[in-house]
Amino acid sequence: MNKLVGEALVVKDLKTQFFIYDGVVKALEDVSFILKKGEVLGIVGETGCGKSVTAYSIMRLIPDPPGRIISGQIKMGDYDLIKGMDQEVDIILKKRPKIRHHNKMIKKNEYLYNKIRGRYISMIFQEPMAALNPVFTVEDQIVESLYLHSKTKILRVIKSASEHISDLQSFKDKGGITSELSGEVGVELQKIKIQKKGFESEGKHLEMLIDEATKYLAKKNKYDEMLKESIEVDSLEDSLFGNIGEEERARILKVLSKEAKKSHLTRLTKRLKKRNPDPVISEARREAFGLLESVNIPNAFQILKNYPHELSGGMLQRVVIAIALSNDPQILIADEPTTALDVTIQAQILELLRDLRKNRGTSIILITHDLGVIAEMCDRVAVMYAGNVVETAPAIELFHNPKHPYTIGLLQSIPRIDDPTKKLNIIRGTVPNLIKPPTGCRFNPRCQFAFDKCTVEIPPTIETSEGHTVACHLFSGKEVR
């Protein structure tokens, strides 16, 4: 399997603008970068340089109005996330040309993207407190994500478990359950016991399992149908992001747009409210417990029943990470995941992210303004300034051989704990207003090397050595000062 070869995400000439009363904020101007499979890409820059807007553009979370993605490509595999969406809208419009109602349009439009968000690309936000809903328990919020995206997986688990439980049923009929169960059934029982850990007291839980299984068996046909249906949808969606022809893609989109009519969320809330939730939910709850343990939360069973305000910042961030990882996404976008946390907690969270990447091979985009975090975590780094990517390079190369004047200034302005004698260098001035950005290179008013050409011409992106690109006139070859 060449899972870790190739590109997970390609962003090309992305342009996002905000249309506000004062004018047009040109937040992103031709942002391009590549995320390789299994790597950690760091995006670094000052406040207002467009780091978060990039992340939000990839997730299609830019509030519209006032924001809009003007042009550009965001490619996941072969599939263009922006163009693909537009195609879908076209299909819907062709079918029902009278749809003009904005909200309805957005709903249809977003259906496919809801499938991508959380399942293929998920995101960790800066403020864990704001990322979670204060009126639901931690458990409900993890279950929601699992239910919306991993139904197939859950249904499969139920199926296999219930088969073994029905074996147990016959055991019981034959004369009660003995503690020594041998063979496959015994092994499976152990597995279920581990899964169920903490949910019921030892003595009771077998009985309850059997009860549940009996209930499930009664509805067996229904769940079989659900499984079949959800496998179909899943495989359709998966094939959408592979190499298929245009016609085939259009056909799949047609089928999937029918799916959009069914609102999974309303179904879910109804089910969560029920006193005796159906096996899908209870299985998702078990899964949630396992997820919390995998992000090193002690006493996970209690934490599940807690509300967000009852947990500390570090714990909440772990919960948010658990939700982001619940569906094994290919790409994880971490937007300043440790900025709100203390250093000792930050060390814990970074350790966790490192483990997750090692174990699952997820590609991570790590957005931060802390160059220390970048140095510790990332394979490659993209430096952003005022809506442009000014430099991309492998992490070691960037820290030892920075090219762009802004990168150099940034690196010299950090107080170093390992080298206190180093004098802090200052980049004079402030970040420009993006409604009226400076002409030419956007860094020119603050750059100490600026010359005539900088104020006139936008610098091209030049590859100085392998994998190291710079957007600066100093390196365009001819006119070196």
Binding site: E46, T47, P298, S312, G314, M315, D342, V343, T344, I345, Q346, A347, Q348, L350, E351, H369, D370, L371, G372, V373, I374, A375, E376, A395, I396, F399, H400, G409, L410, L411, S413, I414, P415, R416, I417, D418, P420, L424, N425, I426, I427, T430, V431
Partner: protein, 391 residues
């Protein structure tokens, strides 16, 4: 060392937790618990710790912005008197008991120079000290022009001139009219702002500029001591560098002492001369900056230093990751407060509270195993400097 500017002895601040219908006190948050602090003239003392360790509360109590539960604060005290009082206090508290003894309270409350108890001293003291807050957005009045923001402290306190009056108070003049305008303009240009900025409102400025205004307001009355409560936490690194160098220049010019409160150890290393490390309301380690970063002894300090990400991918080191969160200060662990997360913790740690001991010259640590850690550490790293000094 130079003259003592401020001395705090036995400072405690307990915030009551109220609850129930009648609002009775259910317990106390031990924000600052029995802290002795000395601030010398013209130095920068760094206070570092995780959120909730009481560093901000300490800063405010030292400025007399909030009343402490107990404690005494002295401004430019007589040194011999101080050492006597300190001796007496340490004898009283040597039992290690949590509860405050009567005599102890008496000593702290009745000392005549205690700023917390003397109204006259308070007023003089407050005109000599200033504070810069963390959030420059909420610390400036949105309805005041910048000129008014900076003029307000001058209007109230005046600016100091040479000499003292009969009561040992500082002589101050109140500036008016053109003199005031010129003075404010001087201050503002020094901060890297210009005349236009004086007639704007705070919301028209960026974070870095706002922080400059807050610093200008503090420095306007020429104080001898400024508490900087996380002044750069809300700023970008490039702006942070600007502010730090500004603060350094001001210190050289006015010979003002800083208390630099932050959670960022790298900043502490860049600016301060002495460092206090706090954990759950207690000082766990205190030393000169270079000394602390080269030979951290308390396990908490070691973990804290090893947790800072260094902006250099080739920088390799062994990393100590602390497990768990900071315990609640409303119900701090018994004995050593750090024992729940400490990798060296033994039985004694959970029963007996360690006292601050001087391990090396000027290096004070509160840990039962400080000597052992220093020994093993010096063996492991083979630093000659440590072995040369007799323990």
């Amino acid at each position: 060392m130079s003259e003592i500017l401020l001395k705090g002895i036995g400072i405690r601040k307990y915030f009551p937790i109220r609850g129930g219908v009648s609002g009775r006190t259910l317990g106390y948050v031990h924000a600052v618990d029995d802290v002795n602090i000395t601030i010398y003239k013209g130095e920068t003392i760094g206070v570092v710790g995780e959120s909730g360790c009481g560093k901000t509360t300490l800063g405010r109590v030292v400025l007399d912005l909030i009343d402490p539960t107990t404690g005494a604060l002295f401004y430019k005290p007589n040194e011999s008197e101080m050492s006597q009082l300190e001796q007496l206090y340490s004898e009283l508290t040597s039992g290690g008991a949590r509860e405050l003894k009567k005599e102890e309270k008496k000593i702290l409350n009745t000392t005549k120079d205690n700023i917390y108890k003397s109204r006259r001293k308070k007023k003089d003291f407050r005109s000599r000290v200033q504070i810069v807050f963390q959030d420059p957005v909420s610390s400036l009045d949105p309805r005041m022009l910048i000129k008014d923001v900076i003029f307000e402290p001058i209007k109230i306190n005046g600016i100091p001139v040479e000499g003292e009056d009969d009561n040992g108070k500082q002589k101050r003049v109140r500036l008016r009219g053109d003199a005031a305008t010129k003075y404010i303009l001087d201050i503002v240009t020094e901060m890297g702002l210009n005349e236009d900025h004086l007639f704007r409102f705070p919301h028209e400025f960026s974070g870095g500029q706002r922080q400059r205004i807050a610093i200008a307001r503090a420095i306007a009355v020429k104080p001898e001591f400024i508490v900087l409560d996380e002044p750069t936490s809300a700023l970008d690194v490039s702006v942070q560098a600007q502010i730090l160098s500004l603060l350094k220049n001001l210190q050289q010019k006015y010979n003002v002492a800083y208390m630099f409160i932050t959670h960022n150890l790298a900043v502490i290393r860049a600016v301060s001369t002495r460092v206090i490390v706090m954990y759950l309301g207690k000082i766990v380690e205190e030393a000169l900056t270079d000394e602390l970063f080269e030979y951290p002894i308390h396990p908490y300090t070691q973990a804290l230093i090893s947790a800072i990400p260094v902006p250099d991918p080739n920088f390799k080191r062994s990393r100590i990751v602390l497990s768990g969160d900071v315990p609640s200060p409303a119900n701090p662990p018994s004995g050593c407060r750090f024992h729940t997360r400490c990798r060296f913790a033994k039985e004694i740690c959970s029963t007996e509270e360690p006292k601050l001991k001087e391990i090396r010259t000027g290096h004070v640590v509160a840990c039962h195993f400080a000597e052992d850690i220093l020994k093993t550490e010096s063996e492991r790293t083979g630093i000659k400097k440590i072995s040369e000094i007799a323990i």
